[in-house]
Amino acid sequence: MTFPKELQETFTSAEIVYLAENELIEVISNVSMNDKLSLISTELPKFRVMSTYKIPIWLAIILRKQNKITVPPPEWLNENYLANKYQEEVTNQTAFTQLPNNWLEVSKIFLKHFVQDLIDNEDVLLKLIQDLKEIRLVKLRKGLNNLNEINLGFNDLSLMEINEFRPFISRVMGNLAKFQKSLENEEGVENYDDAEDPGDDNAYDDDDDDDDLDNRNTSTGGRKDSTMAEANDDIDDEDMEMEDIVNEFEL
């Protein structure tokens, strides 16, 4: 096969890390280097001792290994900030807290390659990141109750988090859309038989007592309404079927 099937559905986590490694990061040079180095995607500037430069993370990884630079952690990668965010995440049940783009990927890279430059204890940080990741995943999984055939918002999630759910979400939503389509077709035929206005797509909504409907309506309005975690409030006990599917979906 030219391209394995598992790669056709989503990205591997290594590929997501690859993308994150292209992001720029601030580094402090320990040595001076006299000339620039011209590269394909960027260039490595002249280094003066103790100056700050912005370079891609992958480049920083190489230079850090050679002890040429120090990589100070970004302002969000410390105990205080992450503990606060965790609290926020616990108290606010309806939305994800705002974290930097790629926070999960970047913190992973940091704990792997720039451990020596961390200010806080790495074990504490690792635990906080893990906690944060888990509570967000729980929220995301609860939010899956809200899956519909139209549209969903995933604001404030990192690519790594989205990527894990990509095949599942797009498959389930795709199937829901198929159901919807066949429902509409059926309805269209019935309407036609009754000599009613066949163009009225809403006709079936009036007598549709499926509790799915509420979810659908709340999630089509606009930005705020379509946020996934919103579903936490109106998780319905009757909606067991979806819950089962969600639970089966092991992470």
């Binding site: 096969m1 030219t2 391209f3 790669l7 056709q8 990205f11 690859y18 993308l19 292209n22 280097m33 180095l37 590269l39 394909i40 995607s41 960027t42 260039e43 490595l44 992958w58 480049l59 190489i62 050679q66 040429k68 139209i150 549209n151 969903l152 918002g153 995933f154 604001n155 999630l157 690519l159 989205i162 990509r166 979400i169 797009s170 939503m173 795709g174 859309a177 198929k178 797509d201 809403n202 089509t220 606009g222 930005r223 379509s226």
Partner: protein, 230 residues
């Protein structure tokens, strides 16, 4: 190298010389970001996207230049200092990274070409225009080989009317088409993306929003560059 390539090379050198170093750096970063996005889009879109010839070609030229630098410098590696070694290490690393992405991009396209070969070739010129010359060759040759193989193995023993590989009659089409209903993940990158309207729904696209939506509804915004696939 063909004449066209040499001319392009020359043009590139002249342009490089004229623009300031800062602009060149910016250009490089932009090209690289675009390459990454092209790769992501190709991987996530259900259909085959237009081939980014210029982008791939210019990246390949840059790759060749870097390989040359390695070759020149590694001849005298034993006498040189560690600084050069580090530089070569960095250059080599980057080459590997970019090779990876180009390879993955091209392979992903080949997989789609295999899958949609019939759809592409029977459709229209606009689909074929999305392929590079090499890809067109590949597609026609591959289809020819497959057809020969099938017909030698078993098709020739079947009745004539059952020998078709692209039969669309009888309700079920044998031509695999891209699934435009597929849900894709998109990110809004500009502030003035038009809202998506379909049936009775309207979805407002604000900058930095991430949505899942069916591919067919977002194609226009994708073309205009207001949103990108993620």
């Amino acid at each position: 190298m063909e004449i066209g390539d040499i001319l392009k090379d020359l043009e590139r050198n002249v342009n490089d010389g004229r623009s300031s170093r800062f602009n060149l750096l910016e250009q490089k970063q932009q090209d690289f970001a675009k390459l990454n996005q092209t790769w992501i889009s190709e991987r996530t879109a259900p259909e085959l996207l237009p081939y980014q010839k210029e982008l791939v070609d210019s990246t390949l030229v840059r790759l060749r230049d870097q390989v040359e630098i390695i070759e020149i410098n590694s001849i005298e590696l034993e006498t040189t200092d560690a600084d050069i070694k580090l530089k070569l290490l960095i250059i080599e690393n980057e080459i590997e990274r970019i090779n990876f992405i180009i390879r993955s991009y091209l392979r992903c396209r080949l997989a789609k070409i295999d899958k949609f070969a019939a759809y592409i070739s029977y459709n229209s010129q606009t689909m074929i225009d999305r392929l590079s010359d090499g890809e067109i060759d590949y597609m026609t040759q591959h289809m020819k080989l497959l057809q020969e193989l099938y017909s030698k193995c078993f098709l020739q023993d079947l009745p004539d009317h059952l020998q078709l590989l692209d039969d669309t009659s009888g309700g079920i089409s044998m031509i695999t088409e891209p699934n435009f209903d597929k849900f894709v993940f998109i990110k809004v990158v500009t502030g003035d993306a038009k809202p998506v309207r379909f049936n009775d729904h309207e979805i407002v696209l604000e900058k930095d929003d991430i949505h899942t939506i069916q591919y067919k509804y977002i194609m226009k915004q994708l073309q205009q560059g207001d949103v990108v696939l993620i």
